[in-house]
């Protein structure tokens, strides 16, 4: 029983790794490979969002900002040739962790919507700063001249290279988060979401763990941002704003925040839906594709919230549980 349980835990991971490895064999279109790379990068952001909202109960809306910091810092350092691109990724992650610590320490004392308001303010401020620091960031026209990522002499240049890099990052983040959530720290965080009084009476230092999880998700977003900027060889303020935030929320909610896998599934669905809508809606609504897409997503999220309030993964879990109960019922009645 125990051995098979241990083995079962690895099955989803093996399936995910197998899909990632064999997908490029099946599909050769570099467009699809590139979209799948974005699925992984947005997935990293959405996983962080899911943990903050679902497990820790923190409505932090600054995920796109950390993504932007990761992209800009790594991009600027590489474009100016200050440090090798590989080191730049680490430098930006450390810097983002530091900023997240400085911002998070006071701001995480806010609750619920107040936290959402404050973090939303930071999102807007950061986006304005990206525009206004024109000499450094290239302002509205964006950051240009980013060289391709080079690690130890290997140059990442094709879509496939970035596809594998993005998915490696995504799987590492997913694994790390899944381990954390099922550990002492994760239990403390989930417990303090349920009852602050009870968890602190058991010795949980709530501000400490909230800050830790806030920094963890910011570093993940920063790493994804750095890979993103080397892939696009470009970064612009408009990427890291409200629009991305809404997309991330959609991913997290549609996939389901109760499970770390949910937001990744959400990222897959939303990213592809967007591509499909962009490709086909143009035929029917040539003038206002964007507006129709927004309406479509609005209706989509309402339907999901009504019929699967715990997201797709939560819904699947529910079906599995129901199936198991029926199976056990049949088994026991047969035994009788």
């Amino acid at each position: 029983m125990k051995a098979s349980n241990k083995f079962q835990v690895y099955i989803p991971w093996m399936i995910l790794v197998a899909i990632v490895i064999f997908l490029p064999v099946i599909i050769s279109s570099s467009y699809m490979i590139s979209i799948m790379a974005f699925v992984a990068l947005y997935g990293v952001l959405a996983i962080g969002m899911g943990i903050l909202m679902g497990q820790a109960g923190l409505f932090s809306l600054v995920q796109p900002t950390w993504f932007g910091f990761g992209a800009y810092i790594a991009g600027i350092l590489a474009a100016r040739g200050l440090v090798p691109p590989g080191i730049g990724i680490i430098v930006s992650a450390v810097f983002v962790a530091l900023i997240a610590y400085i911002i998070g320490a006071p701001i995480l004392r806010l609750r619920g919507l107040y936290l959402a308001c404050a973090t939303f303010g930071i999102l807007i401020i950061a986006q304005i700063s990206f525009v206004q620091l024109g000499e450094l960031t290239g302002g509205h026209s964006g950051l240009l001249g980013i060289p391709p990522l080079t690690i130890g002499g290997f140059v990442f240049k094709s879509d496939l290279h970035y596809y594998f890099l993005s998915w490696a990052l995504c799987i590492c983040c997913l694994m790390f988060c899944s381990n954390v959530i099922n550990s002492r720290v994760g239990r403390a965080i989930r417990a303090s979401h349920d009852s602050e009084t009870a968890s602190s009476s058991l010795g949980v230092n709530i501000p400490k763990y909230r800050l830790q999880i806030f920094i963890l998700t910011s570093v993940m977003a920063s790493l994804a941002g750095s890979v993103f900027c080397f892939y696009l060889r470009f970064a612009a303020p408009s990427i890291f704003g409200f629009h991305l935030l809404v997309e991330l929320m959609l991913m997290a909610v549609i996939g389901g925040v109760g499970n770390v896998w949910g937001p990744l599934l959400g990222s897959f669905i939303i990213t592809w839906l967007q591509e499909i809508l962009r490709a086909y809606l143009g035929h029917f609504f040539p003038v206002m594709t964007g507006e129709v897409t927004a309406v479509f997503f609005g209706v989509f999220i309402i339907l999901v919230l009504i019929y699967m309030p715990r997201g797709l993964v939560g819904w699947v879990e529910q079906i599995f549980r129901l199936g198991r109960r029926i199976y056990e019922h049949i088994k026991s009645s047969v035994a009788q």
């Binding site: 790390f176 988060c177 381990n179 954390v180 550990s183 002492r184 720290v185 994760g186 239990r187 403390a188 989930r190 417990a191 979401h193 349920d194 009852s195 009084t197 009870a198 968890s199 602190s200 009476s201 058991l202 010795g203 949980v204 230092n205 709530i206 830790q212 999880i213 963890l216 109760g258």
Partner: protein, 274 residues
């Protein structure tokens, strides 16, 4: 009572106290006011190591507030709370848990998004130390610690007789079992002093029987217990001393017998029947 059985796991602190006539908890002239309500008014008493104290009083007498003050949820306006001779009046709740004061809640306050076992495992938080990195990377130290916590939590569940429901969700348990899970969770910190807030509240007779058995086990372990309760037969049967609170003030303190006979108590709380 054999007090030497009390586990002294916080070696940092155990040599500080225990001096003053073996009293474990000293409450000195504690007052707490919420707006216009004087929830606690000049409450003073001390609790000896290994004893079982109950606190009774009508609704709104300040019993739960008292537990919240001792466990650091509220800071008192005036007064001092000492645990093993150490002033804990202004310590945050989580630091007080590390000193070995455990508690349960009137409304259970369990963690519904965690399983029964996970609830008990959160209880072991103070006696484990793995941080985010070691648990995120599943280092060997994190794995062994996780295994140890799991076993200890399981032992605590076995003690309350719910080991077969370890992987169930909290919402599937009846009230009596939820109250017991609250106790198992609090036992995770290996408390020297355990405060139970209405453990028998709303329980059926057979559930109370189970509860009394669990309390017997705790007493045999040498644990010092503080029980807030409305159920009179229960209070009178388990406690060695009873403190009566009314309007935030301590009106009587004595053995169950003395308290039963006291006129002020009868007037304040018990009615004319007893």
């Amino acid at each position: 009572m054999n007090t030497s059985k009390v586990p002294l796991h916080n070696s940092k602190h155990h040599n500080i106290g225990l001096g003053r006539n073996s009293s474990l908890l000293d409450v000195d002239r504690v007052s707490k006011r919420f707006g216009g309500i004087q929830a606690l008014n000049d409450v003073t008493f001390s609790i000896e190591q290994g004893s079982i104290i109950s606190m009774i009083g009508p609704n709104g007498a300040g019993k739960s507030t008292f537990i919240n003050v001792v466990t650091g949820i509220y800071a008192p306006d005036i007064g001092q709370v000492c645990f093993q001779g150490q002033d804990i009046t202004r310590l945050p709740a989580h630091a007080i848990a590390y000193l070995g004061i455990g508690r349960t809640f009137q409304l259970e306050e369990l963690f519904p998004s965690l399983t029964v076992l996970e609830n008990a495992m959160v209880g072991c938080h103070t006696r484990s130390r793995c941080g985010m990195f070691s648990s995120g990377l599943r280092l060997p130290s994190a794995k062994t610690e996780e295994q140890r916590i799991r076993e200890e939590a399981m032992e605590n569940l076995t003690m309350i007789g719910l080991e077969h429901k370890a992987s169930d969700s909290i919402s599937s348990l009846p009230l009596g079992e939820r109250k017991l899970v609250g106790i198992a969770r609090a036992l995770g910190i290996q408390p020297k002093f355990l405060m139970l807030d209405e453990p028998a509240g709303g329980l059926a007779a057979h559930e109370i029987e189970k509860l009394v058995k669990v309390i017997d086990i705790l007493v045999n372990k040498g644990l010092t217990l503080f029980i807030v309760e409305h159920n009179m037969p229960f209070v009178m049967s388990v406690s060695q001393r009873v403190i009566v609170l009314d309007g935030g003030q301590k009106i009587v303190e004595g053995t169950p017998h003395e308290v039963k006979a006291n006129e002020r108590v009868i007037k304040a709380y018990l009615g004319e029947e007893v």
